[in-house]
Protein backbone atom coordinates (compact mmCIF):
# COMPACT_ATOMS: atom_id res chain seq x y z
CA UNK A 1 0.00 0.00 0.00
CA UNK A 2 1.39 3.41 -0.94
CA UNK A 3 1.67 6.24 1.57
CA UNK A 4 -1.30 8.22 0.15
CA UNK A 5 -3.48 5.10 0.37
CA UNK A 6 -2.37 4.50 3.96
CA UNK A 7 -3.19 8.09 4.90
CA UNK A 8 -6.51 7.82 3.06
CA UNK A 9 -7.47 4.73 5.06
CA UNK A 10 -6.40 6.35 8.32
CA UNK A 11 -8.29 9.54 7.49
CA UNK A 12 -11.40 7.60 6.43
CA UNK A 13 -11.53 5.71 9.73
CA UNK A 14 -10.53 8.42 12.20
CA UNK A 15 -12.47 11.26 10.61
CA UNK A 16 -15.50 8.98 10.28
CA UNK A 17 -15.27 7.97 13.95
CA UNK A 18 -14.94 11.63 14.91
CA UNK A 19 -18.05 12.46 12.89
CA UNK A 20 -19.98 9.67 14.65
CA UNK A 21 -18.64 10.93 18.00
CA UNK A 22 -19.78 14.48 17.23
CA UNK A 23 -23.23 13.20 16.29
CA UNK A 24 -23.30 11.33 19.61
CA UNK A 25 -22.50 14.61 21.37
CA UNK A 26 -25.29 16.31 19.40
CA UNK A 27 -27.74 13.64 20.48
CA UNK A 28 -26.74 13.70 24.16
CA UNK A 29 -26.57 17.49 24.39
CA UNK A 30 -29.88 17.79 22.59
CA UNK A 31 -31.59 15.77 25.33
CA UNK A 32 -30.84 18.46 27.91
CA UNK A 33 -33.60 20.74 29.13
CA UNK A 34 -31.84 23.84 27.79
CA UNK A 35 -29.36 22.90 25.09
CA UNK A 36 -27.00 25.48 23.64
CA UNK A 37 -28.16 25.81 20.02
CA UNK A 38 -24.96 27.52 18.93
CA UNK A 39 -22.96 24.59 20.33
CA UNK A 40 -25.30 22.06 18.68
CA UNK A 41 -25.09 23.88 15.36
CA UNK A 42 -21.30 23.79 15.50
CA UNK A 43 -21.19 20.11 16.44
CA UNK A 44 -23.63 19.12 13.69
CA UNK A 45 -21.78 21.23 11.15
CA UNK A 46 -18.46 19.62 11.96
CA UNK A 47 -20.05 16.17 11.96
CA UNK A 48 -21.30 16.79 8.41
CA UNK A 49 -17.85 17.95 7.30
CA UNK A 50 -16.41 14.86 8.97
CA UNK A 51 -18.74 12.52 7.08
CA UNK A 52 -17.90 14.28 3.81
CA UNK A 53 -14.17 13.95 4.57
CA UNK A 54 -14.55 10.28 5.44
CA UNK A 55 -16.54 9.77 2.23
CA UNK A 56 -13.85 11.39 0.07
CA UNK A 57 -10.88 9.61 1.65
CA UNK A 58 -12.76 6.31 1.68
CA UNK A 59 -13.65 6.76 -1.96
CA UNK A 60 -10.01 7.17 -2.92
CA UNK A 61 -8.93 4.05 -0.97
CA UNK A 62 -11.89 1.99 -2.19
CA UNK A 63 -11.67 2.86 -5.88
CA UNK A 64 -7.88 2.79 -6.20
CA UNK A 65 -6.93 -0.07 -3.89
CA UNK A 66 -9.67 -2.08 -2.21
CA UNK A 67 -11.19 -3.64 -5.33
CA UNK A 68 -7.98 -5.04 -6.73
CA UNK A 69 -5.91 -5.73 -3.59
CA UNK A 70 -8.20 -6.35 -0.62
CA UNK A 71 -11.44 -7.73 -2.02
CA UNK A 72 -9.80 -10.76 -3.74
CA UNK A 73 -7.99 -11.63 -0.49
CA UNK A 74 -11.23 -11.52 1.51
CA UNK A 75 -13.16 -13.53 -1.10
CA UNK A 76 -10.49 -16.26 -1.14
CA UNK A 77 -10.14 -16.29 2.64
CA UNK A 78 -12.13 -17.83 5.47
CA UNK A 79 -14.67 -15.00 5.66
CA UNK A 80 -15.87 -14.15 2.12
CA UNK A 81 -19.17 -12.88 3.57
CA UNK A 82 -17.14 -10.00 5.05
CA UNK A 83 -17.11 -8.54 1.54
CA UNK A 84 -20.22 -10.14 0.00
CA UNK A 85 -22.53 -8.91 2.74
CA UNK A 86 -20.78 -6.58 5.18
CA UNK A 87 -18.73 -4.45 2.78
CA UNK A 88 -21.50 -4.28 0.18
CA UNK A 89 -23.99 -3.12 2.81
CA UNK A 90 -21.50 -0.72 4.41
CA UNK A 91 -20.40 1.02 1.21
CA UNK A 92 -23.99 1.75 0.22
CA UNK A 93 -25.45 2.65 3.61
CA UNK A 94 -22.55 5.06 4.11
CA UNK A 95 -23.66 7.17 1.13
CA UNK A 96 -26.78 8.22 3.02
CA UNK A 97 -24.89 9.49 6.08
CA UNK A 98 -23.57 12.87 4.85
CA UNK A 99 -27.05 13.85 3.62
CA UNK A 100 -28.69 12.77 6.88
CA UNK A 101 -26.08 14.77 8.80
CA UNK A 102 -26.66 17.84 6.60
CA UNK A 103 -30.41 17.55 7.17
CA UNK A 104 -29.73 17.36 10.91
CA UNK A 105 -27.69 20.56 10.74
CA UNK A 106 -30.53 22.39 8.94
CA UNK A 107 -33.01 21.15 11.53
CA UNK A 108 -30.89 22.50 14.36
CA UNK A 109 -30.82 25.87 12.59
CA UNK A 110 -34.63 25.81 12.57
CA UNK A 111 -34.83 24.85 16.24
CA UNK A 112 -32.42 27.65 17.12
CA UNK A 113 -35.09 30.11 15.90
CA UNK A 114 -38.09 28.29 17.30
CA UNK A 115 -38.38 25.34 19.65
CA UNK A 116 -41.14 23.11 18.33
CA UNK A 117 -41.69 19.84 20.20
CA UNK A 118 -42.51 17.83 17.07
CA UNK A 119 -39.40 19.03 15.26
CA UNK A 120 -37.35 18.28 18.39
CA UNK A 121 -38.64 14.71 18.35
CA UNK A 122 -37.83 14.45 14.62
CA UNK A 123 -34.28 15.72 15.28
CA UNK A 124 -33.82 13.23 18.07
CA UNK A 125 -34.93 10.36 15.82
CA UNK A 126 -32.71 11.50 12.95
CA UNK A 127 -29.66 11.85 15.20
CA UNK A 128 -30.31 8.42 16.69
CA UNK A 129 -30.62 6.88 13.21
CA UNK A 130 -27.32 8.46 12.16
CA UNK A 131 -25.71 7.04 15.30
CA UNK A 132 -27.05 3.53 14.65
CA UNK A 133 -25.88 3.64 11.04
CA UNK A 134 -22.50 4.96 12.20
CA UNK A 135 -22.12 2.19 14.76
CA UNK A 136 -22.97 -0.43 12.13
CA UNK A 137 -20.53 1.10 9.63
CA UNK A 138 -17.72 1.29 12.21
CA UNK A 139 -18.27 -2.32 13.25
CA UNK A 140 -18.49 -3.40 9.63
CA UNK A 141 -15.14 -1.74 8.93
CA UNK A 142 -13.52 -3.77 11.70
CA UNK A 143 -15.01 -7.03 10.38
CA UNK A 144 -13.86 -6.28 6.84
CA UNK A 145 -10.34 -5.34 7.93
CA UNK A 146 -10.09 -8.46 10.06
CA UNK A 147 -11.03 -10.63 7.10
CA UNK A 148 -8.31 -9.14 4.88
CA UNK A 149 -5.63 -11.64 5.77
CA UNK A 150 -3.75 -13.88 3.37
Amino acid sequence: MTAPLTYALIAHVLVGVLAIGLTHLVFMHFLRKTPSWKYLRSLAGWATIGFLGSWASGAYYYVVYYGKAVKPVILKGAYPWAHQVIMEAKEHIFIMLPFMSLALWFLILVLEKQQDDKIKKAVRNLALTILLFGAFIAGAGIIISGAARS
Binding site: M1, T6, L9, I10, V13, L14, V17, L18, G21, H24, L25, F27, M28, L31, A135, A138, G139, I142, I143, S145, G146, A147, A148, R149
Partner: protein, 169 residues
Protein backbone atom coordinates in the same frame (compact mmCIF):
# COMPACT_ATOMS: atom_id res chain seq x y z
CA UNK B 1 8.36 7.64 20.06
CA UNK B 2 6.51 5.36 17.64
CA UNK B 3 2.78 5.42 16.85
CA UNK B 4 2.06 2.32 18.91
CA UNK B 5 3.48 3.97 22.04
CA UNK B 6 1.46 7.13 21.37
CA UNK B 7 -1.69 5.03 21.00
CA UNK B 8 -0.94 3.17 24.23
CA UNK B 9 -0.50 6.44 26.14
CA UNK B 10 -3.68 7.95 24.65
CA UNK B 11 -5.65 4.80 25.39
CA UNK B 12 -4.38 4.59 28.97
CA UNK B 13 -5.22 8.25 29.56
CA UNK B 14 -8.72 7.63 28.14
CA UNK B 15 -9.24 4.58 30.36
CA UNK B 16 -7.86 6.43 33.41
CA UNK B 17 -10.18 9.38 32.87
CA UNK B 18 -13.12 7.11 32.14
CA UNK B 19 -12.64 4.59 34.94
CA UNK B 20 -11.69 7.33 37.38
CA UNK B 21 -14.54 9.52 36.18
CA UNK B 22 -17.10 6.72 36.48
CA UNK B 23 -15.84 5.83 39.96
CA UNK B 24 -15.93 9.40 41.19
CA UNK B 25 -19.31 10.02 39.54
CA UNK B 26 -20.73 7.38 41.89
CA UNK B 27 -18.75 8.55 44.90
CA UNK B 28 -19.85 12.15 44.31
CA UNK B 29 -23.46 11.07 43.79
CA UNK B 30 -23.61 9.17 47.09
CA UNK B 31 -21.79 11.98 48.90
CA UNK B 32 -24.15 14.60 47.43
CA UNK B 33 -27.28 12.63 48.36
CA UNK B 34 -26.18 12.02 51.97
CA UNK B 35 -28.01 15.08 53.25
CA UNK B 36 -31.09 14.27 51.18
CA UNK B 37 -30.59 16.91 48.51
CA UNK B 38 -28.09 17.81 45.79
CA UNK B 39 -26.85 21.37 46.10
CA UNK B 40 -25.88 23.49 43.05
CA UNK B 41 -22.18 23.11 43.97
CA UNK B 42 -22.50 19.35 44.23
CA UNK B 43 -24.35 19.27 40.92
CA UNK B 44 -21.62 21.37 39.31
CA UNK B 45 -18.96 18.97 40.60
CA UNK B 46 -20.84 16.01 39.17
CA UNK B 47 -21.27 17.78 35.81
CA UNK B 48 -17.53 18.39 35.63
CA UNK B 49 -16.91 14.73 36.50
CA UNK B 50 -19.24 13.66 33.69
CA UNK B 51 -17.39 15.99 31.30
CA UNK B 52 -14.09 14.32 32.20
CA UNK B 53 -15.75 10.93 31.79
CA UNK B 54 -16.99 11.88 28.30
CA UNK B 55 -13.51 13.13 27.37
CA UNK B 56 -12.08 9.81 28.52
CA UNK B 57 -14.66 7.95 26.47
CA UNK B 58 -13.85 9.78 23.26
CA UNK B 59 -10.11 9.44 23.80
CA UNK B 60 -10.63 5.73 24.40
CA UNK B 61 -12.73 5.25 21.26
CA UNK B 62 -10.47 7.34 19.03
CA UNK B 63 -7.26 5.69 20.20
CA UNK B 64 -9.05 2.34 20.09
CA UNK B 65 -9.73 2.81 16.40
CA UNK B 66 -6.12 3.91 16.08
CA UNK B 67 -5.13 0.47 17.41
CA UNK B 68 -7.44 -1.26 14.96
CA UNK B 69 -5.84 0.67 12.12
CA UNK B 70 -2.41 -0.22 13.48
CA UNK B 71 -3.28 -3.93 13.51
CA UNK B 72 -4.64 -3.67 9.98
CA UNK B 73 -1.63 -1.84 8.60
CA UNK B 74 0.96 -3.98 10.38
CA UNK B 75 -0.45 -7.31 9.21
CA UNK B 76 -1.99 -8.33 12.53
CA UNK B 77 -5.55 -8.52 11.19
CA UNK B 78 -6.33 -11.71 13.13
CA UNK B 79 -6.43 -9.63 16.33
CA UNK B 80 -9.49 -7.85 14.95
CA UNK B 81 -11.48 -11.08 15.41
CA UNK B 82 -10.45 -11.62 19.04
CA UNK B 83 -13.44 -12.56 21.22
CA UNK B 84 -12.17 -10.32 24.03
CA UNK B 85 -11.97 -7.38 21.61
CA UNK B 86 -15.54 -7.89 20.40
CA UNK B 87 -16.72 -8.29 23.96
CA UNK B 88 -15.06 -4.93 24.68
CA UNK B 89 -16.87 -3.38 21.69
CA UNK B 90 -20.17 -4.73 22.99
CA UNK B 91 -19.46 -3.39 26.48
CA UNK B 92 -18.67 0.05 25.07
CA UNK B 93 -21.86 -0.11 23.01
CA UNK B 94 -23.85 -0.98 26.12
CA UNK B 95 -22.13 1.85 28.00
CA UNK B 96 -23.19 4.34 25.28
CA UNK B 97 -26.73 3.00 25.16
CA UNK B 98 -26.97 3.12 28.95
CA UNK B 99 -25.87 6.78 28.96
CA UNK B 100 -28.62 7.58 26.46
CA UNK B 101 -31.25 5.65 28.42
CA UNK B 102 -30.22 7.38 31.65
CA UNK B 103 -30.44 10.79 29.95
CA UNK B 104 -33.92 9.87 28.72
CA UNK B 105 -34.80 8.61 32.24
CA UNK B 106 -35.75 5.25 30.75
CA UNK B 107 -33.73 3.16 33.20
CA UNK B 108 -33.45 3.51 36.99
CA UNK B 109 -30.44 5.45 38.23
CA UNK B 110 -28.95 2.52 40.16
CA UNK B 111 -29.06 0.19 37.15
CA UNK B 112 -27.52 2.89 34.97
CA UNK B 113 -24.78 3.44 37.52
CA UNK B 114 -24.16 -0.31 37.81
CA UNK B 115 -23.84 -0.65 34.04
CA UNK B 116 -21.58 2.41 33.84
CA UNK B 117 -19.08 1.39 36.50
CA UNK B 118 -19.00 -2.27 35.51
CA UNK B 119 -18.61 -1.42 31.83
CA UNK B 120 -15.68 0.89 32.44
CA UNK B 121 -13.81 -1.65 34.55
CA UNK B 122 -14.74 -4.40 32.10
CA UNK B 123 -13.36 -2.33 29.22
CA UNK B 124 -10.13 -1.92 31.15
CA UNK B 125 -9.79 -5.66 31.86
CA UNK B 126 -10.85 -6.74 28.37
CA UNK B 127 -8.41 -4.29 26.85
CA UNK B 128 -5.60 -6.19 28.53
CA UNK B 129 -6.97 -9.54 27.29
CA UNK B 130 -7.81 -8.35 23.77
CA UNK B 131 -4.24 -8.88 22.62
CA UNK B 132 -5.06 -12.56 22.40
CA UNK B 133 -3.54 -13.78 25.63
CA UNK B 134 -6.86 -15.22 26.80
CA UNK B 135 -8.97 -17.62 24.72
CA UNK B 136 -12.34 -17.37 26.47
CA UNK B 137 -15.35 -17.35 24.22
CA UNK B 138 -17.53 -14.30 23.68
CA UNK B 139 -20.40 -15.99 25.54
CA UNK B 140 -18.22 -16.75 28.57
CA UNK B 141 -16.89 -13.21 28.72
CA UNK B 142 -20.35 -11.73 28.35
CA UNK B 143 -21.84 -14.00 30.99
CA UNK B 144 -19.19 -12.85 33.46
CA UNK B 145 -19.89 -9.24 32.50
CA UNK B 146 -23.65 -9.63 33.00
CA UNK B 147 -23.06 -11.24 36.40
CA UNK B 148 -20.71 -8.38 37.32
CA UNK B 149 -23.38 -5.79 36.39
CA UNK B 150 -25.98 -7.49 38.60
CA UNK B 151 -23.47 -7.84 41.44
CA UNK B 152 -22.53 -4.16 41.13
CA UNK B 153 -26.22 -3.21 41.23
CA UNK B 154 -26.65 -4.92 44.60
CA UNK B 155 -23.40 -3.42 45.92
CA UNK B 156 -24.57 0.07 44.92
CA UNK B 157 -27.96 -0.62 46.47
CA UNK B 158 -26.25 -1.52 49.76
CA UNK B 159 -24.10 1.62 49.59
CA UNK B 160 -27.10 3.82 48.90
CA UNK B 161 -29.09 2.21 51.70
CA UNK B 162 -26.24 2.82 54.12
CA UNK B 163 -25.35 6.41 53.17
CA UNK B 164 -28.38 7.95 51.47
CA UNK B 165 -31.50 8.90 53.50
CA UNK B 166 -34.29 6.32 53.21
CA UNK B 167 -36.78 8.66 51.45
CA UNK B 168 -34.47 8.74 48.43
CA UNK B 169 -35.12 5.01 47.65
Amino acid sequence: MDWYTILIIAHIVGVALGVGGATFAEVNLVYAKRDGEISPDENALMQSTYAVLRLGFFLLVLSGFGFLLYYRLSGAEELLYSSALWAKFAVIGILSASAVLMQLRLIPLLWGSAVSITSWYAALVLGVFARGDVNSSYVTIFSIYALAVVTMYYILQLIHKKFVPHKEH
